[in-house]
Symmetry: C2
Subunit: 356 residues, 2 copies
């Protein structure tokens, strides 16, 4: 029998590159994108066979707590952790691990971002089962995505050919986002996997490795965890938290360990970072268009339309556009320039903060 499995879902970040659909008060992970369900809800649903609701934790800002509480009504309130400021996923996950360890020192935990899409839930669950097996053996484990294109927007994990277990390989390094030529080599090589920031480990193993890699940060987080349940300590927690450095798991921990294990998987994964990637959410038609709402197209290709207005959208002779048609804003963006939507949001933050 395995130890009990706990899930931590870091739910930070507004996803401003999906403006105007995502807003500061309506971040990407809360949007009802797929069959009326949010990516957060789907993330919790995917781990259900492993973590019943009382073993699922979220870590978010206070601004989103109420929405999270309503979207995941089955989670106990004390599992909805609030970070007083965003200090990176490494900090958020370690706090959650410290709190879970107090409840169950034998626990295995997995951490999965709130705003990723996974098309093939069965494949995810098979990979997670393998990762839990690997974690049970004491390995720091990650789930890596088999690339299907030379993507330059993601970091990679280089695996070895040595297996820790069937379907689970030893790995020694994370690789930064490559240029296109390097990404093409990675794809041809076959041992490079996309880093989707999915981590599975025994909490005791993780905490001792993290303490070794980041002794000061670890000590500070331990103090915060000690105070956590004490209402009189709220201001101390906030002050201590805001003094913490921003730390990711990749840089704060994984770069400091000699080896870890990666479970490769193909499962229709996407981080839907911007309007370029958004079409991976909705099924495309024969012209590679993804339409939500009433759309009439004449020679339109590779276009995304998301319309919440009660009127038709007509496209004529256009390619590779994303058109987001909401009651209070209309965005038309070339999907190859999708990352520049951030510039619009920056302008609006100064001039029309009500729209951001």
């Amino acid at each position: 029998m395995y130890r009990d499995f706990y899930t931590v879902i870091p739910a930070g970040g507004a996803g401003t590159r999906l403006w105007p659909l995502s807003r500061a008060h309506r971040p990407k992970f809360l949007l009802p994108l797929i069959g009326g369900r949010s990516l957060l809800q789907l993330t919790a649903q995917r781990v259900e066979p492993f973590s019943p609701p009382d073993r699922i934790y979220t870590v978010s800002g206070a601004a989103h707590l109420a929405s999270i509480a309503r979207q995941l009504p089955e989670l106990p309130e004390q599992n909805l952790l609030v970070e007083p400021g965003m200090r990176g996923t490494g900090t958020a996950i370690t706090l959650a691990a410290l709190l879970i360890a107090r409840r169950d020192p034998e626990a295995i935990m997995g951490s999965f971002a709130a705003d990723h899409k996974i098309g093939d839930t069965a494949a995810f669950r098979r990979a997670l089962a393998s990762a839990i097996e690997s974690a049970n053996e004491g390995y720091l484990t990650t789930i890596g995505i088999e690339p299907d294109r030379p993507e330059t927007g993601y970091g990679y994990i280089e695996r070895s050919d040595d297996r820790a277990l069937p379907g689970a390989y030893f790995a020694h390094r994370f690789v930064e986002k490559p240029d296109l030529a390097t990404a093409e080599q990675f794809l041809a090589n076959g041992r490079y996997l996309w880093n989707a920031s999915m981590f599975v480990w025994r909490i005791d193993v993780f905490l001792s490795e993290f303490e070794r890699a980041q002794p000061e940060l670890f000590a500070a987080l331990q103090r915060i965890a000690d105070w956590w349940e004490d209402d009189r300590r709220q201001e101390d927690i906030e002050r201590a938290w805001l003094d913490l450095p921003v730390t990711t798991i990749d840089q704060g921990l994984m770069e400091h360990v000699d080896r870890f294990v990666v479970v490769p998987v193909e499962m229709g994964w996407s981080d839907i970072g911007d309007w370029k990637g958004f079409s991976e959410l909705v099924e495309a038609d024969a012209d590679a268009n993804c339409f939500q709402g009433e759309v009439i197209a004449e020679e339109a290709n590779r276009c995304v339309v998301w319309s919440e207005q009660d009127r038709p959208v007509a496209l004529v002779g256009v390619e590779n556009l994303a058109i987001i048609d909401l009651a209070d804003a209309l965005l038309v963006v070339d999907r190859e320039k999708a990352q520049n939507v951030r510039a619009i949001v920056s302008k609006l933050e100064r001039e029309r903060p009500d729209l951001t």
Copy 2:
């Protein structure tokens, strides 16, 4: 002293290529496009020094009569001619000429489309004065536009070097829309002018030439003109009109005459046929964008935005698009494919006639 000058404004055609701004019930010439005034109103205003309101006639379908009557309140009601069906500008203009001839057999008339834009009114009026002088001498006269680009979307007039009067040249032929290589030759040649369907002539000269070129049609139109003021003849008029062939001035008359006179002019003319040409209406900014409504742009070039919605339109990394944002429809079109908007309108005529 010249004879009295009468203006005829054929106001047919919905301009479906400017959908969704233009509709069957709201054709291009009625839209308040420039400073809140319609192209029809501006057309009437331009001829004011030559034709007082009681000498201006319109020819339109019944569907637009009420709007025309309200937009041009100073025109006598009997000057607002209604054609029972569209049978081409040749038919419409000849009917108007026959009716004007009954009132003033000595008249000179000019015919100007209701939906063209002219930037330089003074230049137009100078050209019209020359054309009236030429018409007074008995010449069939047209005003031709000096081309500033090798346009393939317009027909041309080839002038000779022989002058009938200062600034007025004899010409012998109209030329169909050319291909690009031919249009470039026309531009280099210097004797080719755009045909803007602006005709100026003595009505007696015109009617005798038209009778010679189209004897049967002329006889039929004369019968209709005889019946025109007789209310008991309305059904006869309608039946006779609907039996008429479609005839333009170019094909019905100008191709059958040996020579005519053309007055060349530069006057910022555009027929604003579709969303490609629409930017000639509104002044462009430094990035060649023409925006009406609240627009936030990040790397947008040569885009037209016409927004009637109370919300911002954000453009990111897009080029040469027209975006028409109305309460009941949104159009996004590549301006180079603007002529295909007609295909959308055809689809809508079957599926959503309320939107056409």
